[in-house]
C-alpha cells in the first residue's frame, strides 16, 4: 500500500467486479439471442442495475464500520419488517407467482425482499458475533452456547417469514450462512460437533419420516406435497417425468454441447432453454464458452472467495465485525455459486437460486452489490488503519 493512492481504490476488488460484470453482460447478451427473449433488452437493464449497484457501493463508503455496527440492528429490523409487510400485502402489489408470494410486484418493478434481507441479516450476525466476542474475551461453554443461541435466533426470524412465502430454497441459504458463521465464530468444537450431530440426526429422521409417511408429514409439519415430490425426485431422478427434468435435460444439452471451447457468441443451439438469462445463465456460459470458459468463471468465484478469506483474516486484528461481514458475504456467494452451478450440471436439485453477480435480475444484483459495498468498506478501512499505523 502506498500513500499516494487513495484508500478508496481497492484495485483487486474493482478488477474482480469488472470481470464479473463483463461475464454477466456477455452471458446475458447471448441469452438474449434466444427466440423467447427476442425483443427484450436485458443487457441494457442489467447495465442499469449494475450502475445503480455501483452507486450504492459508493454511498456505503461514506459510512465507517463503527457507524454500520451501531446501525446494524435497525437495518436488520428493517429487513425483517419488509418481509412481514410482504406477507400481509394485498395481491395488487405482491402477486403470487408460481405459488409463492416472494415478490413486491409494482408496475415496471419487481423486488424480492428476501434477497436484501440476506445482506441485512449477515450484517447483524457479524455485529452480534463481534460484540459477543468482545464481551466474552475468554469463551466458556455457556458463553459459546449463548452465542450459538444468538446466531440461531437472528437467522431463524427471517427464515420463519421466508418459509411462509413459502420459499424453501432461500431459507436453506440462510441456514448455510448461519452454519458458516457458527463455524467461524470460534464456538467450541464440542458444541459444533454436538450441534452437527443433532441437526444431522433430526434432518435424517425428518427426511425418513417424510419419505415414508408423506401424508402424515403433510398433516403434522405442514410440508407441501410438491416439496416432498422434489425431495423424492432428487433421490431418484429417473422417476421424475415432469417439467423439472425438461429444464434439466435442456440445461445439460446446452452446457454439455459446449464441449471444450464452446460455440462462441450468437451461436446457441438449444434455443428453448427456459430462464436462460436468470437461473440457467451458467448453461448459456457453458454452451457459449465451453469447459474453458465455464472453468474460468468458477475460478473467478474461487479468487473472489479467496480474496474474501484473506480480507477477513486481515481485518480480524482491527475489526472482527469487518471479518464476519466478509465471511458472511463469502458464505452467501459460495452457496449461491455452488447450488446454482451444481444444479445446471446435475449434482444439486433444481431451485430458483440465481448465480450472484452474473444472473440477470434487479433484486439479486442490487443486494449483492450492497454486500459487495460492505466488504469493500472493510477493505478500505484496513487500508486506512494500516496507513494510520505507519504514520
Amino acid at each position: 500500500m502506498t500513500n499516494n493512492k487513495s484508500h478508496y481504490i481497492q484495485s483487486d476488488f474493482i478488477l474482480l467486479l469488472l470481470l464479473f460484470i463483463g461475464v454477466s453482460l456477455l452471458a446475458i447478451y447471448n441469452a438474449e439471442q434466444l427466440p423467447q427473449n427476442v425483443g427484450q433488452n436485458y443487457v441494457i437493464k442489467q447495465i442499469v442495475w449494475f450502475s445503480a449497484g455501483i452507486f450504492l457501493v459508493s454511498i456505503i463508503q461514506f459510512f465507517d464500520l463503527e457507524q454500520l455496527y451501531k446501525a446494524s440492528i435497525y437495518i436488520y429490523g428493517f429487513g425483517v419488517l419488509v418481509l412481514i409487510v410482504l406477507l400481509i400485502s394485498p395481491e395488487s402489489i405482491a402477486a403470487e407467482i408460481r405459488g409463492t408470494k416472494s415478490w413486491f410486484t409494482l408496475p415496471g418493478l419487481s423486488i424480492q425482499p428476501a434477497e436484501f434481507t440476506k445482506i441485512t441479516t449477515i450484517l447483524f450476525l457479524a455485529a452480534a458475533i463481534s460484540q459477543h466476542k468482545g464481551k466474552y474475551e475468554v469463551p466458556t461453554i455457556p458463553s459459546d452456547i449463548f452465542l450459538l443461541l444468538k446466531i440461531g435466533v437472528i437467522t431463524a426470524i427471517p427464515i420463519v417469514f421466508i418459509l411462509m412465502q413459502p420459499d424453501f430454497g432461500t431459507s436453506m441459504v440462510y441456514v448455510f450462512i448461519a452454519g458458516m458463521m457458527v463455524l467461524l465464530s470460534g464456538i467450541d468444537w464440542k458444541i459444533i460437533g454436538g450441534l452437527v450431530l443433532t441437526v444431522a440426526a433430526l434432518a435424517v429422521s425428518t427426511l425418513l419420516f417424510i419419505v415414508n409417511f408423506p401424508e402424515l408429514a403433510e398433516d403434522t409439519i405442514g410440508i407441501a406435497p410438491y416439496q416432498i415430490n422434489r425431495l423424492m425426485t432428487w433421490f431418484d431422478p429417473s422417476q421424475n417425468a415432469s417439467g423439472d427434468t425438461y429444464q434439466f435435460d435442456l440445461s445439460m444439452l446446452a452446457l454439455g454441447s459446449g464441449q471444450l471451447t464452446g460455440k462462441g457468441l450468437n451461436n446457441l443451439q438449444v434455443v428453448q432453454l427456459p430462464d436462460a438469462h436468470t437461473d440457467f445463465i451458467f448453461s448459456i456460459i457453458g454452451e457459449s464458452f465451453g469447459f474453458i470458459g465455464s472453468a474460468l468463471v468458477i475460478l473467478l468465484y474461487f479468487i473472489m472467495l479467496y480474496r474474501l478469506v484473506t480480507l477477513g483474516l486481515k481485518s480480524f486484528e482491527n475489526s472482527q465485525f469487518g471479518s464476519y461481514i466478509s465471511f458472511g458475504f463469502l458464505s452467501l456467494l459460495l452457496i449461491h455459486a455452488f447450488q446454482n452451478i451444481g444444479m445446471t450440471i446435475g449434482i444439486m436439485p433444481i431451485t430458483g437460486i440465481p448465480l450472484l453477480l452474473i444472473s440477470y435480475g434487479g433484486s439479486s444484483v442490487l443486494s449483492t452489490m450492497i454486500g459487495f459495498g460492505l466488504v469493500y468498506r472493510v477493505a478500505v478501512e484496513i487500508d486506512i488503519q494500516n496507513d494510520y499505523l505507519f504514520k
Partner: protein, 710 residues
C-alpha cells in the same frame, strides 16, 4: 491459563479458515470435475443429440377450383372466409398453448353477434385450464403414494376429478375466452394448420392478429374458403358437396386419398361433380419442409409450390337450366293442383337436354314435389340415378332391332289388332282402329301390335296374323339379341357420363314371349332419363352414340377471371350402331312424323314449330304398392325428341313417372314440358343471336367460341 487461552483463540481463526477454505476448494473441485464430465466426456453425445435433425413436410391447402357454365358465368365460387389458424411447432407444451391463448384473446373474440360463445366448452376444459394456472396446488391433490401407483394419464384424470366445481365456476369472461381459444389450440396436430376461428372473423380481428403475429408463435391469419353458389339452388344438387374439415377425406376410400398426398383433415368432394372432378379441382398443395433440431424449426423450404385447383367450364347453359327447372316445376305444380286426386302419386318431373352431336349436356333438371312440406326441390341427379319404364319412346329402337335382325324390312306392314298368347290377356295398342301400318305409321301412330310382331318374329314365331289363343314359339336368346340392339343406342348400358355412380336401370329376369313383347314397347326393363336422352341423340346423330358429358373445358386458375385453357374436352363417340344409315334415317323420318304429320301422337303440340322437331311419345303402365298395401295403377309419361330434324343441335328426354291414369289424357304433361323446353331453347338462341347482331363489334372470344359449337 488466560494466556494459553488467548493463544488458542488467536490460533483458532486461521485454522478454521483453513477448514473453510478447504471446504470451498473441495466444493469447487466437485464442480470442475462434474463440468469436465458433462462437457468434455459427454459433450460430443450432447452435440450429436442436438444435431439430430428431423424433416417434416407441411401441406398448406389451396383454394378449390371454380365452376363456370358454358357461357362462362360463375356457377360455383369460393367465398373467402377470414380464418385464424394455429400450426403448433414440435414439442409445444400445454403451458405454451395457454400463453398463446391468453395473448390471442386480446385480439379475437370467440363469441357471435349475440354475445354467445360459438363453440361449447366442457367442465373438463375448465379444469384443464385451472390445472395449468394452479399446477402445484393441483398436483398436491394426490398423495405421493397414489402417484406412485398411477401412470401419468391416471394421475392427471384423478387430479381432474378432485378439482371442485366451485373452483371452476368463477371464471371471468376474459378467462372463458381464453379457455375457448385454448380448446381450439389443443386440437391441433404438430406442424399441421388447425383453424382456431373462421366464423364471423371481422376484418378488425384479422388485422389485429396479422399485426401481432410475431407475438403469437404458430398463429397465422389466413383466408379459408367456402363454396358459394351465385345461382343458388339451381344445379347445386348435381354439383354435389364437399366435406368440411372435421370430416376430412372420405373414410371408405382413405387409402386412395392418402396415397395421393391428402391430409386426413383435407376437404374433398363428397358427391356429384365435386367428387367426379376432385383431381382437377383440388389443386396442388403448397408443401413446406421444416427441418427440426431438438424440437426447434431451424429451416423451412418450399418443396412444392402451391397451385389453386383448376377451374371447370361445364357444358350446362345456366340460363336454359333455370328455365327448364322452372318449366318442370310449373308443370308439375299445375298437374298436381288441377288433379290433386288423380295425380296424388305424382312427385317427379325429369328432363335432360343435350347436344346430340357433341354429348354436351345443356340442361339437366329434376323437380320433386314434397307433399309433406308442399315444396319443390331440385333433384337433377335423379335423371342419372332413377330408372323408369319409359313406354313407347323406345319403339325407334325396336324398329331398328327388327330391321337389323331381318324380321322386318323398310316398309313392312302389319295389321294393328290385339294379340292373345295362350290364356293371357289380349295385348293391343293404345287405341283400336289403327288398321294396317307400315314402319313409319307404326311410329307415327305408336302401334304396339307392330312392335309385338317384331318381338314375336325375333323369338322365332313367324305366323302372321298370330292365331290368338295359341302358344307362341319363343327362343329366349331373342332377349339377348334385342337388348344388344337397344344397348347400341344407349338403353340398358352406361351412357358414360362424367358423373359418379351412374345407374343403368333394372333388367327383367324372366324371359318369356309376352315379356319380350312388353320389352319392345318399353314396359319391361327400366331406363334412366339420361339413357333415353342418349338413345334419341344416337338416332338424331345418324347412329353415332356419343358420351354425354358435363365438362366442357378445364381452365387454369386465375384470380382475376377466366384463366387460359388447360384442356378442352372433345366429343367422344362410343360406338356406331350396326344398322345402315338408311335404316336410321327411316326411324328419324318416323320420329318426324310423330311430331309433324297429321295423326302423329305429338302432332298437336309440335305441328307449328319452326324449329322442325322430331321425336317419340311414350306412356308406360306402372303399378306399384302404396304405403297402405294397395295396388296403385299409374302411368309414366315420357317424351324424347330432337331439333332441328335435318341438322339436330338439341336432343331431349322427359320423364314424368306416376301420373294418374284417368287424367293423363287431359293433361299430357310430357308433351307440354317437351314443347316448352324446346321453345325455351330456341327462344334463348334467338335472343342471343339478336344480341350478338346488336353489338357485333363488341363480340368477344367467348361468344364466338360458343357459336362455333352450334
Amino acid at each position: 491459563m488466560v494466556e494459553k487461552k488467548k493463544k488458542k483463540k488467536k490460533a483458532q481463526l486461521p485454522f478454521r479458515l483453513n477448514i473453510l477454505f478447504f471446504i470451498v476448494f473441495l466444493m469447487f473441485s466437485v464442480l470442475i470435475v462434474q463440468l469436465g464430465v458433462v462437457q468434455i466426456l459427454n459433450g460430443e453425445d450432447f452435440q450429436k443429440e442436438i444435431d439430430r435433425t428431423i424433416k417434416d413436410t407441411t401441406k398448406i391447402p389451396v383454394p378449390r377450383g371454380k365452376m363456370y357454365d358454358r357461357n362462362y358465368n360463375v356457377i360455383v365460387d369460393n367465398a373467402p372466409l377470414y380464418a385464424i389458424t394455429y400450426t403448433p411447432p414440435k414439442g409445444v407444451q400445454a403451458k405454451d398453448r395457454l400463453d398463446v391463448a391468453v395473448k390471442l384473446s386480446e385480439f379475437i373474440s370467440m363469441k357471435d353477434e349475440d354475445g354467445e360463445f360459438i363453440n361449447r366448452i366442457t367442465d373438463r376444459d375448465k379444469k384443464d385450464y385451472w390445472y395449468l394456472l394452479n399446477e402445484e396446488e393441483a398436483k398436491s391433490r394426490i398423495t405421493v403414494e397414489e402417484a406412485a401407483e398411477m401412470d401419468s394419464g391416471e394421475e392427471y384424470s384423478t387430479i381432474m376429478s378432485r378439482i371442485t366445481d366451485e373452483e371452476i365456476s368463477n371464471f371471468t369472461e376474459e378467462e372463458l375466452e381464453v379457455i375457448h381459444i385454448k380448446k381450439e389450440l389443443d386440437k391441433a396436430f404438430s406442424l399441421t394448420p388447425q383453424i382456431v376461428k373462421n366464423v364471423n372473423v371481422t376484418p378488425e380481428e384479422y388485422a389485429k392478429v396479422a399485426e401481432h403475429l410475431d407475438e403469437l408463435p404458430g398463429i397465422n391469419a389466413t383466408t379459408d374458403w367456402d363454396r358459394d353458389f351465385p345461382y343458388g339452388d339451381t344445379l347445386q344438387n348435381l354439383i354435389g358437396k364437399i366435406t368440411d374439415q372435421s370430416e376430412g377425406i372420405l373414410a371408405d376410400n382413405e387409402d386412395y386419398y392418402l396415397t395421393r398426398g391428402y391430409s386426413r383433415n383435407d376437404r374433398v368432394g363428397r358427391s356429384g361433380l365435386e367428387l367426379q372432378y376432385e383431381e382437377l379441382l383440388r389443386g396442388r398443395k403448397e408443401q413446406i419442409q421444416y427441418t427440426t433440431k431438438k424440437g426447434k424449426v431451424i429451416d423451412s423450404e418450399t418443396v412444392v409450390e402451391g397451385k389453386s385447383g383448376k377451374d371447370l367450364v361445364l357444358t350446362v347453359d345456366m340460363e336454359l337450366q333455370k328455365q327448364v327447372d322452372e318449366i318442370l316445376r310449373e308443370e308439375l305444380k299445375t298437374a298436381i293442383e288441377k288433379h290433386p286426386q288423380g295425380n296424388r302419386y305424382m312427385d317427379d318431373a325429369l328432363a335432360v337436354m343435350m347436344n346430340p352431336k357433341t354429348g354436351e349436356i345443356l340442361a339437366i333438371s329434376g323437380q320433386r314435389y314434397d307433399r309433406k312440406e308442399n315444396d319443390f326441390k331440385n333433384v337433377s341427379f335423379r335423371t342419372i340415378y332413377d330408372a323408369h319404364q319409359p313406354g313407347s319412346v323406345v319403339k325407334g329402337a325396336t324398329i331398328l332391332a327388327g330391321y337389323e335382325s331381318g324380321v322386318i324390312k323398310p316398309g313392312s306392314s302389319f295389321r294393328d289388332s290385339p294379340i292373345r298368347i295362350g290364356g293371357d290377356e289380349p295385348k293391343g295398342s293404345w287405341t283400336t282402329g289403327l288398321g294396317v301400318l307400315n314402319d313409319y305409321g307404326a311410329l307415327r301412330r305408336s302401334s304396339n301390335v307392330y312392335m309385338f310382331y317384331v318381338a314375336l318374329k325375333m323369338g322365332g314365331e313367324n305366323r302372321y296374323p298370330f292365331p290368338n289363343g295359341e302358344t307362341a314359339r319363343f327362343n329366349p336368346d331373342a332377349f339377348r339379341e334385342m337388348r344388344n340392339y337397344f344397348a347400341q343406342l344407349g338403353l340398358g348400358v352406361k351412357t358414360g357420363i362424367d358423373y359418379p355412380n351412374e345407374a343403368t336401370g333394372v333388367k327383367g329376369t324372366l324371359l318369356k314371349a309376352g315379356l319380350l313383347m312388353d320389352y319392345a314397347i318399353g314396359q319391361y326393363d327400366t331406363f334412366t332419363t339420361l339413357q333415353l336422352a342418349q338413345y334419341v341423340s344416337t338416332i338424331a346423330n345418324d347412329g353415332y352414340r356419343v358420351r354425354p358429358r358435363l365438362l366442357k373445358e378445364v381452365r387454369e386458375p386465375d384470380s382475376t377471371g377466366l384463366g387460359s385453357i388447360y384442356q378442352s374436352v372433345n366429343a367422344e363417340s362410343l360406338n356406331r350402331v350396326d344398322m345402315d344409315q338408311s335404316l336410321v334415317e327411316r326411324v328419324q323420318e318416323g320420329f318426324r312424323q310423330v311430331f309433324q304429320t297429321q295423326g302423329g301422337t305429338a302432332y298437336s303440340y309440335f305441328k307449328d314449330k319452326e324449329y322442325n322437331p322430331a321425336g317419340k311419345t311414350g306412356t308406360a303402365e306402372y303399378e306399384f304398392t302404396d304405403e297402405d298395401g294397395n295396388m296403385v295403377y299409374t302411368l309414366n309419361l315420357t317424351l324424347v325428341g330432337y331439333a332441328p330434324f335435318d341438322d339436330p343441335e338439341v336432343a331431349f328426354a322427359v320423364v314424368v313417372p306416376k301420373t294418374g291414369r284417368g287424367v293423363s289424357q287431359q293433361h299430357p304433361i310430357n308433351n307440354v314440358i317437351g314443347t316448352r323446353i324446346l321453345d325455351a331453347y330456341f327462344e334463348l338462341k334467338e335472343q342471343r343471336a339478336g344480341n350478338n347482331q346488336d353489338d357485333e363489334t363488341e363480340e368477344t372470344d367467348e361468344e364466338s367460341d360458343q357459336n362455333n359449337d352450334e
